[in-house]
């Protein structure tokens, strides 16, 4: 059962990474990148490393997505 979940999560990381590279919208790409690190955090918990998972969830999924959104907002022209 546990291995099945780990396989599912690894496949989801793969799908999120491919989407983050191939999507057209910058916001959707940033969200997909955050989702990849979200799945990685759950994978770390299932593999028995809760401290790594907590750091990954706070920095990878929370902080980096915020910084990406801020950077996108500051570097694109004002939307109509």
């Amino acid at each position: 059962m546990l291995e099945l979940f780990v396989y599912l999560l690894c496949g989801s990381i793969l799908v999120s990474g491919i989407l983050a590279v191939s999507l057209d919208s910058t916001l959707a790409a940033a969200v997909s990148g955050g989702l990849a690190s979200l799945f990685a955090a759950v994978c770390y918990v299932l593999l028995g490393a809760p401290d790594v998972a907590m750091t990954e969830a706070s920095i990878g999924s929370g902080l980096s997505l915020l910084i990406f959104l801020y950077a996108i907002r500051r570097t694109t022209e004002k939307a109509p």
Binding site: L8, V15, A28, G34, L35, L38, M54, L65, A79
Partner: protein, 86 residues
């Protein structure tokens, strides 16, 4: 009895992850994808809580707690971004 409940919960979580990833792939607008990400976060929190019960380690519940707070912040940031506020 408890075993069957855990297996049913695991199957439901599995279906939730699979269908949300499908919505993420097929999603036409950004809003669809953001909703899929929010659903996936809730499903992930329930998966971590279920695994904390199965493994018998309460330290995993702390991860679920941090996860819930941060995912709320992330969705809030995306919403502010879409409303031109960030």
């Amino acid at each position: 009895m408890a075993e069957e409940i855990l297996i049913v919960a695991a199957i439901l979580i599995f279906l939730g992850v699979a269908l949300s990833v499908l919505r993420l792939i097929l999603g036409r607008t950004v809003i669809d994808r953001v909703a899929a990400v929010d659903t996936l976060t809730v499903v992930s929190i329930s998966l971590i809580a279920l695994y904390a019960h199965v493994a018998g380690r309460s330290i995993y519940l702390d991860v679920a707690l941090v996860y819930g707070v941060l995912s709320f912040l992330a969705v809030l940031a995306i919403a502010r971004y879409l409303e031109q506020g960030l």
